[in-house]
């Protein structure tokens, strides 16, 4: 009888513990994708979050607690605006840098600006921490401020590069040279050079 009580108590307690912890499935880079990369595929993001999903649950839970209130509306807003896959509705927004979320909470959720540093995430063989720069809701830069070193470099760093999507548009600039796929003929080459000169590039 005593044993049955213990088992029942243990089950209830375990269930409570499971419910209390938000699944730590998405890391800081997922939040990055939501914020400003509308087209770039989730490919690198996927690999990034895969490695960061092993983040210690303590860290993730802490981030959840700090960020749930403030960061949610911002992230949801940009997610719908940029038609990003709905993968990051709750957990992803939670893992955004708590301090960044706190500051953007007061501002209107329309334009997102500033630098955002994600939490340092333990990936078993070291820590990864990514800082992004956002201008008007678009990522203009993403760098790893912390990355594991040593023999695992090659593999851990593979999670670090972030695709930055952009709309293709003509640029007007003074250039000294052009890089394109191989030209086959002198005629094409001189024609291009002439056209560039005509265009005033």
């Amino acid at each position: 009888m005593k044993r049955a009580l213990l088992i029942a108590g243990g089950t209830v307690g375990g269930l409570g513990a499971v419910l209390a912890i938000t699944p730590p499935q998405l890391g800081p880079t997922s939040a990055i994708n939501i914020a400003g990369a509308p087209i770039a595929g989730a490919d690198t993001t996927a690999s990034a979050s895969a490695s960061s999903s092993s983040a210690t649950s303590a860290a993730t839970t802490k981030a959840t607690a700090a960020a749930t209130k403030s960061s949610k509306p911002v992230a949801t807003k940009s997610a719908s605006a940029t038609k990003t896959p709905a993968s990051g509705n709750s957990a992803a927004s939670n893992s955004a840098n708590p301090t960044a979320a706190a500051t953007s909470a007061q501002a209107a959720p329309a334009a997102i600006n500033g630098t955002f540093t994600g939490p340092s995430v333990n990936v078993n063989y070291g820590n990864v921490q990514v800082k992004i720069t956002v201008v008007n809701g678009r990522i203009t830069d993403a760098v790893a401020v912390k990355a594991p070193t040593g023999k695992n470099d090659r593999y851990t760093n593979m999670a670090v590069p972030i695709l930055k999507a952009q709309t293709l548009k003509a640029q007007s600039a003074n250039i000294q040279g052009a890089s394109g796929a191989s030209y086959t003929s002198y005629g094409w080459f001189t024609s291009l050079q002439g056209a560039i000169a005509l265009a005033g590039l």
């Binding site: 087209i39 770039a40 595929g41 490919d43 690198t44 690999s47 470099d153 090659r154 760093n157 593979m158 999670a159 670090v160 590069p161 972030i162 695709l163 930055k164 999507a165 952009q166 709309t167 293709l168 548009k169 003509a170 640029q171 007007s172 600039a173 003074n174 250039i175 000294q176 040279g177 052009a178 890089s179 394109g180 796929a181 191989s182 030209y183 086959t184 002198y186 094409w188 080459f189 291009l192 056209a195 560039i196 005509l198 265009a199 590039l201």
Partner: protein, 253 residues
């Protein structure tokens, strides 16, 4: 400041060399340029897959082994192996019909060598444009302002070749663009033999020309999945700019 610009046909295309030097001029500068042209002709002689007697052709035909080849051919062979490894096999000169074909790497490698020849001759500011694979050294001299500036190199819009869609400022380094738009669909996915569909055009910027050239070809195959390769330590300092095939969009790292 002395300036010399020469364009000469080689490798079935055009190489454009533009250089400035404070100390080297006149006949000395001409001689340096001649040595560059000679080097390019030697590269053609050794590496062309269109010449029956080139080392690469004889390698392909099994008439010689790589150990019998001259230094430059062996070096390029090794660089090809490195690039294949760094791109998870998306760049694979050994998977080409007819055997080993280093064409996807040689131009970038040779552009670097040309630029270094000029630098060794005392020329401080060099641009070598080997049909889209560029090697840059020391920036360029703007005679209007009298200031040395980074070379501003535009990436051509694959849909509208008179347009520039991206500009990279490079003082020292290399830039290479690969695409299907100019020579037709000449890049194949070595894993399945099909035409590469990863991107419409791919540009890689970084310190070494051979690696830019090879990785640009690899990104044409790998598309956005290629991003992961650029996290490897060997590719630190390399940037990617790729134009997507269908949307009017691009991505970069």
């Amino acid at each position: 400041m002395n300036q010399l610009r020469r364009q000469f046909p080689v490798w079935g295309t055009i190489v454009d060399v533009d250089c400035f030097s404070q100390s080297v001029g006149g006949a000395q500068l001409d001689r340096a340029m001649e040595s560059v042209i000679e080097f390019c002709e030697n590269v053609d002689r050794d590496f062309s897959t269109y010449k029956d007697e080139s080392w690469v052709t004889r390698l392909r035909q099994g008439k010689v082994a790589i150990v019998d080849c001259p230094d430059d051919v062996r070096v390029v062979w090794e660089l090809c192996a490195t690039a294949k490894d760094l791109s998870d096999g998306a760049f694979d000169p050994w998977a080409v019909d007819g055997g080993f074909d280093p064409s996807g790497l040689v131009k970038g490698w040779a552009a670097d060598k040309c630029a270094d020849l000029l630098v060794a001759a005392g020329v401080g500011h060099v641009q070598v444009n080997a049909a889209g694979d560029l090697a840059l050294r020391g920036g360029w001299f703007d005679s209007v302002t009298g200031v040395v500036k980074p070379w501003s190199i535009g990436v051509v819009n694959p849909d509208e070749r008179t347009e520039i869609v991206k500009v990279f400022d490079i003082t020292d380094g290399a830039i290479a663009t690969s695409g299907t738009y100019e020579r037709g669909a000449h890049i194949h996915d070595p894993l399945n033999g099909l035409i590469a569909i990863g991107a419409k055009s791919a540009t890689v910027v970084g310190p070494e020309g051979w690696l830019c050239d090879a990785m640009a070809t690899a990104v044409m195959v790998g598309g956005q999945d290629s991003a992961q390769w650029f996290g490897q330590p060997e590719l630190q300092g390399y940037q990617v700019f790729a134009v997507n095939r269908h949307e009017q969009t691009a991505w970069s790292i």
